[in-house]
Symmetry: C2
Subunit: 315 residues, 2 copies
DNA sequence: TCTATGATTAAGATATACTTAACTATAAAG
DNA sequence: CTTTATAGTTAAGTATATCTTAATCATAGA
């Protein structure tokens, strides 16, 4: 069977789409930069090919027949998909602008402070950063930074680093006199809404032998910068991603009062459609960030070797 | 912005679709009834328009680049939708063949025995009946008969008749001596898997004052013809749609031993895309079946007036 | 080494789609 | 009630996109 049998003139279908959308041949014509006459003829051709009336013609306006309404549904979706696919694959029209969509916690606490370095390394790249929790369609975004398991349908992902979680508080909240577990039981807990937080607190609790007690959550802060501020101002203890507090730990501004950590179920990934990774600007950014990220791994190595009794706890 | 900016040549996209599908320009050419040269040129045009290579050319074969693979995903879905829409809306190519998809219970017990009448009324229509529980795409089906609430996304529906459920068994299982509830408690229950059966049995149970007792389900039969056979051969009692047993009740082959019935939450509907209802053959069938269905309503009127203590029970 | 296959390219042929211009019908303005 | 402006239709001619033909390339398989 000929595919000409399957599909009538594609141009006529496109004309139909716009005509049906605006219920006006004139508007469709303007949209497609042709004359009304052209649209009129295309619609006529299409109707003849289908053997069905798609529009009811009234004076100075047209309306869809039930057939027209049925077809519009499909045509609109179909051309929408084509436009999306084409836009997603077409040559990067702004090779000097790099658009990154990153989860806010990582973006604000880690990425933003370091961007100066990237601008020095790639001065001709104009970087636009949008802190965003939702995975975009990647039509206007070059690259995403996401916290997850690294599996994103239809997308390629690249692990940035392995993430660890550990309890963190201000050093002045802890002393050498009392037993540490007893002290911690009195320190308020600050929670946030992270993807694996619900798994994390029970472990902390269990480690403190607080089996039945509900977590003492006086404070819930979702913004990680604000959360770190709260920790620095001695407001409590929280389970933190190492990547977001390792600098404070290195400086002694924050401490991990228990010799425990957990492997996070979720790590940070670079995510994008496969071909975005071939773009020069994306490759440059990836090279840069992968190098920067080494400092986190390095800090982690150092921290664990300085604290030999530090050990992993699991569920 | 011009839509020419949004979409490159649609023909080239279609050529790409087939070329990517078969990973062969030659095969795509055959599919589209043109020469390889035409496909080669179309692909080249498309690649130039997008500014991106879609295929890697090897000798005597081509493979998709990552960009090509990305685009194919969209193009394939898009043209699939167009084909589906076009096929669904195009003029009926077999105006003398009527394809009906009906739920098996209604089809087998009610429709099939009556089809002779339709063939006499519309002798030139070749009818194909497919007993089917799934709603098809209506690409090859003119009309569906469905049991439901009459709301089907993107489809038009037309109520055939209101449906009632009542307990039914063979008359010899019942006598005048013992209290009826006591007798019924001993009769095995035959169940089937219907959409509102779970609501129906508790009511029956409650009516028999069997509040806590589990239903005595010795027999479960999903085929309604077999179920009626089981009832006729005295194997138990079942909740039946009036439309499927009214003839047996009228003949006295089956009885409703309790003066109760329930309005079904689900009724029978004719279902199809709106424009299918304009087809001559569909209109003819609708006219015929709506007339036939009157016998059910009529029988119901008669039954309820002959049994004045018959009453509706609800949840 | 030779042959056959699948893709590419240029040039010309053809079909498709577009513009122009004259026409219809009617809503809205005067 | 007449006039004007608007939206769509149609026919004829033109422009353009798309195809075919035919020559060419590269190489897998005989």
């Amino acid at each position: 069977m000929s595919s000409n049998r399957l599909l009538p003139s594609l141009k006529s279908l496109l004309a139909f789409r716009y005509a049906a959308q605006s219920l006006s041949f004139k508007a469709a014509a303007e949209h497609l930069y042709v004359t009304q006459a052209a649209i009129s003829q295309q619609i006529k051709t299409l109707e003849q090919a289908l053997g069905v009336e798609l529009f009811e013609r009234h004076t100075r306006q047209v309306t869809l027949t039930t057939e027209g309404a049925y077809l519009f549904d499909y045509a609109n979706k179909a051309f929408g998909l084509l436009e999306e696919g084409v836009k997603g694959v077409a040559e990067d029209s702004n090779p000097n602008t790099l658009v990154i969509s990153a989860v806010p916690s990582f973006s604000n606490r880690w990425l933003v402070p370091r961007l100066g370095g990237f601008r020095i390394q790639e001065p001709e790249i104009n970087l636009r950063l949008s802190p965003n929790s939702k995975l975009s369609t990647f039509l206007d975004t070059d690259l995403g930074v996401r916290l997850g398991e690294g599996v994103y349908k239809g997308l390629q992902s690249s692990l940035l680093f392995e993430e660890f979680l550990l309890p963190v508080c201000h050093p002045s909240l802890i002393n050498d006199k009392e037993p540490i577990k007893k002290q911690l039981a009195k320190i308020p807990v600050i929670t946030d809404t992270g993807p694996d937080m619900e798994h994390v607190w029970p472990i902390y609790q269990r480690f403190l032998d607080m089996y039945d007690m509900p977590i003492n959550t006086q404070l819930h802060i979702d913004d990680s910068t604000a959360l770190v501020e709260a920790l620095l101002s001695r407001q409590g203890i929280s389970m933190m991603r190492f990547s977001l507090v390792y600098e404070q730990i290195e400086k002694g501004q924050l401490v991990c009062p228990l010799p425990i950590y957990m492997k996070s179920r979720y790590d940070f990934y670079l995510v994008a459609p496969a071909h975005h990774f071939k773009r020069q600007k994306v490759m440059g950014f990836k090279r840069w960030i992968e190098n920067e990220v080494k400092s986190i791994d390095h800090s982690w190595q150092e921290y664990t070797s300085n604290n030999p009794d530090f050990k992993e706890v699991t569920v």
